[in-house]
Symmetry: C3
Subunit: 265 residues, 3 copies
Amino acid sequence: MPDPLITLTTDFGDESPYVAAMKGVILGINPVVRLVDLSHRVPPQDLRYAAYFLANALPFFPGGTIHVIVVDPGVGTERALLCVESAGQRLLVPDNGCWTTMIREWGDAPRVVRLTEARYWRQPVSTTFHGRDILAPAAGHLSLGLDPLALGPLTDRWVWLESPDPRPGRNSWIGEVVFIDHFGNLITNISADYLGNPSGPRIRIAIGKHWRRLPWVPSYGHVQPGKLIALLSSSGMLEVAVNQGNAAHRLKAAIGTPVTVSWAR
Amino acid sequence: MPDPLITLTTDFGDESPYVAAMKGVILGINPVVRLVDLSHRVPPQDLRYAAYFLANALPFFPGGTIHVIVVDPGVGTERALLCVESAGQRLLVPDNGCWTTMIREWGDAPRVVRLTEARYWRQPVSTTFHGRDILAPAAGHLSLGLDPLALGPLTDRWVWLESPDPRPGRNSWIGEVVFIDHFGNLITNISADYLGNPSGPRIRIAIGKHWRRLPWVPSYGHVQPGKLIALLSSSGMLEVAVNQGNAAHRLKAAIGTPVTVSWAR
Amino acid sequence: MPDPLITLTTDFGDESPYVAAMKGVILGINPVVRLVDLSHRVPPQDLRYAAYFLANALPFFPGGTIHVIVVDPGVGTERALLCVESAGQRLLVPDNGCWTTMIREWGDAPRVVRLTEARYWRQPVSTTFHGRDILAPAAGHLSLGLDPLALGPLTDRWVWLESPDPRPGRNSWIGEVVFIDHFGNLITNISADYLGNPSGPRIRIAIGKHWRRLPWVPSYGHVQPGKLIALLSSSGMLEVAVNQGNAAHRLKAAIGTPVTVSWAR
């Protein structure tokens, strides 16, 4: 048996001591845990960003991994905290839906427990840092072999996050930008299934209102640096990019910007 | 026995190779070490920031943990380097006081060794990177079981960092902002002990010169997004925040900004 | 035998899910791997930056370490992917030369394999994320004991990255800024060998066109805060810095800015 693996995903940034405190709490409960940072730069309280992040990262991890996720605008209110089991992995996460996009894609019925058993919490429990006081201790105890059912009652109610689906337009599909990566590449919610078979070397795309004909290419380096292109993202979605440049800056696009697409004639 | 745990806290940023070099040096001495990043984004040479960070992160770690701390404006001068043992943990740190705030809170008499034994240093020792050449090797050797007393002589003299205490005003306490987190929340040096029992649902606070009456709430989500609030921080201090917003930007506050507080009538 | 060590160096940033996906893929193949982040903040597609980073970080790691390096402007084109063995370490890296600066300094003849055996790739292989689909799986398989020769054929052809060498001027050496660290310190390509024996306490340096006489000191703290200085960097190169300040901002210098140096009379 390898030593247990606990990943951490937060919006805490990496300059403040919050992530470090959570690591200390976990290792204080189970000193053999291997910690893996996924990201601490989810934009503050941005549940849609967190949902995209988790759906594109967690599926690659092996069964048995425990994921602690702290993007928690509702901390200290009545919102619940959950232990979610799906595809052999376990998530410790506030009940705000950020994990449900990934679960929809897995198509697996999750087993969900509400964290109510205060004996597994760090005392005293603060009102503003449940990552440290409830989620991290729960992860530590699970890594020691605790049955998730010891953490609280099963539940079949939780918050679902709405994921926008593309809708049909006139000879087109209308979607939106759902993610912008570090390079400024625009990832949309329009999957390969909607695009059908490419009918030519170019595709008509409107980012916002302005239509363009973009080369449809396999990857960035197939055009000159600085050129706008359309391609399939590594997650199988329509992506708009600039080779060695920043498409988000160039097109003044943001998460939520409408994207309309049709094959150019 | 779990594999030894060494944490790293620096102001090196994570874009330059300095942190990576330290990790290589440690693993070169003891390849079974488990490394844990605490932060590499302490603002450059900011000892007060480092002091707050350490006091709010290290106490959560288990006994036996080794912490390497490199915030070192005096590198290459006569300032000493120290191995500090307290509460079962060991710190390798420049003698600039950034660790003393935490020690004050622990109330434990530390055992302190000056690092003078050059046989445990990486050779040749640079004049500008003692994190790589002295502190990281010391951590590696300690993780192999070396007695800290082999690293140099015991000392009972070191630099203490001044921590400002709140002072009384007219029916008020006058303190200051001591930390601003990633969300822009303002953490002050005014602890729950100073605030006494809340006498009402609001508290009068001046951040700088402008007085406000703020709702006194358990957590962020108890008010509408965008509202200013006062609350107890997760470390038990007076905190001023904006629900889902950035109080530091809103109030133009910085570390050191005066904060005056009294219960509103 | 310690659990295998795999380091990660990318230009992905740490806010997007790409690094997390690679970690999941590696751990999915070999769950006992210990992952070590070197940096995910190499500037996008900056091969010279990556080359400096690797040359100043990888040599410190112990034999047996596996390094995954993803700075890959040519992803999805005909550029090859390589497994490089040198000094007992293994690198998985696109064939763009970013690793060759380090190899030149090691002076060791590397053994280089082209990654062509698709059976060790994640399927389906995307056209834009070979870090996840080819390099990470290769690292996972190597960590399980796979012979690098199983990954593809040996090759003796690869891209070399040009490293600028200083050239002689009139009683001077003319080089350039090759790295700027988090503190704004300017690291040049002029090594101690070119500087010869210091003939005085000052050195004449032109950063760009403007000549200055700078104190030649062992480290930052030997002058008042805010003063410009010249010193030997921790890697043995001429460095220009401001004690507790940012020399790059002060001198408006960038990577590639010319630097001319001669000992002052």
